[in-house]
């Protein structure tokens, strides 16, 4: 019996004309770069915007592997940990290394480790492959906390970010952290978008949809999968380094546990598999939902709500939402936004300028 594929084909046509699309991106970017500084609240920077950007980047990392190349991974957090600890070691052991180089180095180390854990994908297909990423998820944090060398001698494996600076510019303030995070996230997202638009991205999509057919088209599925593992872990590694340095400041290997991996998986399910914008929508959702929930709870019940109860309500809600999205909106929030946009633009008569998607 024919089954509907896990993914619908990713639309290659765009919903906006390129010029309009570029303008929109530029507007969003300008707003992201300027608006928070106008508002200038430290809470907004450190508790909302920085984690939102980092989680979006992590979502992008996982989406490359799962949404585009079709390889399910439950070990995202482990690769984030590798990136964080590798960057930390580069900064501590090579004090002259500038921050961007250390970040790049951390990403590359994580990419290599990801490549290693991706090797079984050459032989194991489908579901059994989660053994490999789960092995990474349990083995890597264990390794990092077991040997204090990784944390420069800290017995419990805790690392603390050194003061962040870029040449003469001091980045050690909530606004500085935000600026640094934004710059990295924009740069990586732009690079990833170009990669995904080109032959590499198309090869990944072909492998995802049916690797035997991809092979018949002259794509080497094994090589494509391995490269996806490497790129995905590279991005996750950089997200992990940012998580440790610009968001938390102090982090231990246990902070990168299975729950974090699930969180990132939920971001891409809710946001949209195989979509770049989806990562940002999903991350915004994941960051804002707990805030909204606790506000709502204290508004309804009044006073202090038991945090354990709140956490369980959140779990219930997330679980139900995952199922809801998988059932009714498999392409996630990004599809919802697209549809809203289409409805509105056909309403004001702009529809005829766009390519129809599907």
């Amino acid at each position: 019996m024919a089954t509907v594929p896990f993914f619908r084909p990713t639309p290659l046509g765009l919903s906006l004309r390129p010029a309009a699309r570029n303008m929109l991106s530029a507007l969003v970017l300008a707003a992201a770069a300027l608006l928070p500084f106008v508002i200038g609240s430290d809470y907004l920077f450190s508790a909302i915007l920085v984690p939102f950007l980092i989680l979006s980047l992590a979502g992008l990392g996982l989406n490359v592997l799962t949404g585009y190349a079709g390889q399910l991974s439950l070990g995202s957090a482990a690769f984030m940990a590798v990136g964080a600890f590798a960057t930390y070691n580069l900064l501590v052991r090579l004090p002259d290394l500038p921050l961007p180089a250390a970040l790049l180095g951390g990403g590359l180390v994580s990419g290599l480790v990801g490549l290693g854990f991706g090797l079984p994908s050459l032989r194991i297909k489908g579901f059994y492959l989660i053994a490999s990423t789960l092995a990474a998820q349990f083995f890597i944090p264990w390794l990092l906390s077991q040997y204090s060398w990784f944390s420069n001698g800290n017995a419990s494996g805790v690392i603390t970010a050194p003061p962040l600076r870029l040449g003469p510019v001091d980045l050690d303030s909530p606004a500085g952290h935000y600026a640094a995070t934004l710059a990295v996230v924009v740069l990586i997202t732009w690079m990833a978008a170009n990669l995904l638009k080109g032959p590499t991205g198309r090869a990944w999509i072909a492998v995802r949809d049916l690797d035997a057919s991809a092979a018949a088209l002259g794509i080497a599925p094994g090589r494509a999968k391995l490269f996806a593992f490497a790129v995905s872990s590279f991005i996750l590694g950089i997200a992990g380094a940012l998580w440790a340095f610009t968001y938390l400041g102090t982090v231990e290997p246990a902070g990168f546990d299975l729950d974090r991996s699930f969180q990132i998986l939920f971001i891409i399910i809710i946001g949209g598999l195989g979509s770049i914008r989806g990562n940002f929508l999903g991350a915004a959702f994941i960051v804002l939902l707990p805030v909204a929930l606790s506000l709502a709870a204290s508004a309804i019940i009044g006073g202090n709500v038991d945090p354990a109860l709140l956490e369980n309500i959140q779990k219930l809600l997330f679980g139900a939402l995952i199922i809801f999205f998988l059932v009714t909106e498999p392409d996630g929030l990004t599809q919802l936004v697209d549809r809203a946009h289409r409805t509105r633009s056909s309403w004001i008569g702009l529809g005829k300028f766009r390519q129809q998607e599907r």
Binding site: G126, I130, N312, L316, I322, I323, V327
Partner: protein, 293 residues
């Protein structure tokens, strides 16, 4: 040598408990082709409900019956609200849905019953018993016996009865099964209810040993590699794999731990599973699927 044997057998017996959890997976996988990540939180839900009912003064039999009834209701709801709308979707989509289901079970059980640890006494003690010169846990032996009976019963049920035949028919080819009049929804509900029953038994055994608490849900992470090594479709394979993993990780922790560091238990099973997969990509006794284009 005696110590080595004690560790080996103790680990193997603990491994049978992993198998018990993994059998719940196999039941559901065979009937609906779904890899049910929620099996772990089903165990948590079952054990918490049972423990709280007993603490409220219900006799054990009644508590067992009520918990089982709740599990059957949740099986019906799962079929209606999750599986039916997702019919014909890919294996990975279904897996992700059970991940959501797992969060729902966890949230519901802890909202309803709180997050405290409950002691559970089901009349089994953990005293060591001397057997042929070896000190073995009485509890482990009893648990192994219960698991053995359960496995035999399930093997008969799925292998020798009409119900078992329809379970396998639905898994093999849902469309053909429908066309010969098998009621797929009902078969699915029965499989999930059976898995709920297995979860209840596993929850009682694990809960009696280590207290009824959230960590019960984490057994799923131990059962997963067992399942991967054994193959998703084979009850026998899962038993063998459970014993292998249980014995292997205890031996590794005790004899390898002092050399490379403690806490090996957390990842040993996965590395073992990975090694197995590299040699046999469909597990010990799993069936190889063919890909059609």
């Amino acid at each position: 040598m005696t110590f080595f044997l004690e560790v080996l057998i103790g680990g193997a017996l603990a491994g049978v408990m992993y198998s018990l959890v993994a059998i719940g997976f196999v039941l559901i996988y065979r009937a609906s082709g779904v890899f049910n990540f929620a099996q772990g939180t089903m165990i948590l839900f079952a054990a918490l409900t049972f423990a709280n009912l007993v603490e409220m003064g219900a006799p054990m039999v009644l508590a067992f019956a009520v918990t089982l009834a709740l599990l059957v209701v949740s099986a019906i709801l799962t079929e209606r609200l999750v599986l039916r709308p997702l019919a014909n979707r890919s294996v990975i989509t279904l897996f992700l849905a059970t991940l959501g289901l797992s969060y729902v079970f966890e949230g519901v059980s802890q909202i309803a019953w709180g997050t405290q640890v409950h002691a559970l006494d089901i009349g089994l003690t953990d005293d060591p018993i001397a057997l042929g010169g070896l000190n073995l846990s009485r509890f482990d032996l009893a648990a192994t016996a219960i698991a053995g009976v359960l496995v035999a019963a399930l093997a008969v049920l799925t292998g020798r009865t009409g119900l078992g035949l329809s379970l396998r028919a639905v898994a093999a080819d849902p469309l053909a099964a429908l066309s010969i009049g098998i009621r797929q929804e009902r078969v699915t509900v029965i499989a999930w209810s059976l898995a709920g029953f297995v979860a209840l038994v596993a929850g009682l055994l694990w809960g009696a040993r280590s207290g009824v608490q959230f960590s019960l849900a984490l057994i799923v992470l131990k059962a997963l590699p067992v399942l991967i090594i054994g193959g998703f479709t084979s009850v026998g394979g899962v038993i063998v794999a459970g014993i292998l993993v249980g014995a292997g990780e205890k031996l590794a922790e005790i004899f390898l731990g002092p050399i490379i560091g403690s806490g090996i238990e957390n990842w040993f099973a996965y590395v073992l599973a990975l090694l197995f997969l590299l040699i046999r990509p469909t597990g010990l006794f799993g069936q190889r699927d063919f890909v059609r284009i």
